[in-house]
Amino acid sequence: MMAAIVACVVLLSLGAACLARSRSQHLSVETLLVADRALPAPMLFILTVGEIYSIGSIVAFPAGLYAHGISYGYWFLGYLLLAFPVGYFVGPAIWERARRYDACTVPEVFGRHFGSRIFERLTAWGCIAALVPWGQFQFIGLRATLGMMGLPGAPAAGLAGCAVIAFAYVALGGMRASTYVAFLKDSLMLFGIAAVGVAAICAQYGGTGVHVAHPVVFRQPAVTDMVFAVSTIVYQGVGFYFQPSVTPYLFTARSAQAVRKAMVFMPLYMLMYPFAVFATYFAVRSLPPLHNANGVFFHVANVLLPPWVVALVMAGAVLAGLLVLAATSLNIAAMMTRSIMPRLAHGHPRRAINLGVILFLMLALVATAHAPAIMLTALNISGYVGIQFASLWFVVLLDWPVSARVAGAGVVCGAATAIALFASGLSVGGINPGFIGLLVNCAVVFCPLWRGRRVA
């Protein structure tokens, strides 16, 4: 029954994508990539939260809180919460620069700002390096979810089906289709998390409303844990909207004001997290220890809720994975065909983008089947690389006179520093390696400028 309900929801999502297609007068490259820059604030809100709150919100957050305790919960909630005020102030400026340069992708903004096709191509490669593990991570999450649905016998077929559906979203309407599907996904995800959370509260407290002080059951943080959490919150919170996996969604807005208005309400979406915390608290306090923390949320759902509700929760998780997979593959394909190999796309840009999406999905499928452990390490590294693009955005947004060569050197130095610290396991007071990398990056980019001013 569970598989049937999930299949029905996925079919419904394809119907939503078809609806998006039927409402579009035409399907140009701009429609695919930036929804014709026409999304009003409510639709931008739905698209952005749909893409930000991926399968990780259901799987990774409860799992991390369960396994690592308070510092993990603080970090996860803190960086997301800080990202929205930052986005409120920088988001409209990012949108304005993308419109000014008539850019559909992040490398196009950089290339046109610095007036260099080579720089555009190099940043496109960098963005793709940061995006591929993120897309791959969705496949890994989808495989875990399919396994929890009791379909571990045919994971390859299930994942291939997911790839076909993700491609269908892209081919039917690109970003606009993603917005329509996101509405369905967000509804299911909010319902699922709230249902499990309320069930956990009722089971834990028996609905009496009388509570005594409970001892802390989550793992208590050490000082170094909190140093890491704080530095990561600052690093990821400030850099969130500068990541190549997030920035393109801002390009779809109708106006800078639409971006600002959408940001005002973004933190309210986080009100689902208290329910996830209560569900995890119930698991820690009342259930036997789990070997696989990744399944903690679904385990609580299975224990407390009827199967049809669990199926809807699963469907929300599957849609979350599919949606981010579709948008990420579209983003990668756009960079491949517009910035790296524009000649191949000449004359048939939409067909080239679709081919790029198919190619990425096939390669990601093969990698998921053969090297999932390597991909998880790659995901960690991509987190350190993606936010290094923040220094380029600082230059673009402030119009500071920095050459492409210096800006590129900053990104390379920052990423190399972060990866070296991560790979060596060297700890600098528990500070996030990516944060140190970003400081090095900004020092390389901006220090020559100060030196120049002082000389002048």
């Binding site: 610095f114 002080a213 802390v216 009100l271 119009d399």
Partner: protein, 68 residues
């Protein structure tokens, strides 16, 4: 790169309200709550503090929007 362009001048009071206030609540204040053993319905006080700041952050941004 167009050197003749002037960046937009920020309204520092709006920045303080919309960014400064949530930042102070999340970054310098919250970590100290992480070491407290108090709980509310079993949930550590630092997480409850974060929950409270979900609507408060929206409120700060809404007030910023009203001033713009």
């Amino acid at each position: 790169m167009n050197p003749d362009r002037q960046p937009d001048r920020p309204d520092w009071r709006r920045v303080a309200l919309g960014l400064g206030v949530p930042f102070m609540a999340i970054v310098p204040v919250a970590p100290f709550l992480g070491f407290l053993s108090w709980t509310i319905m079993g949930i550590p006080v630092i997480l409850v503090w974060m929950f409270v700041w979900f609507p408060l952050t929206s409120l700060c941004l809404w007030l910023c929007e009203q001033r713009s």
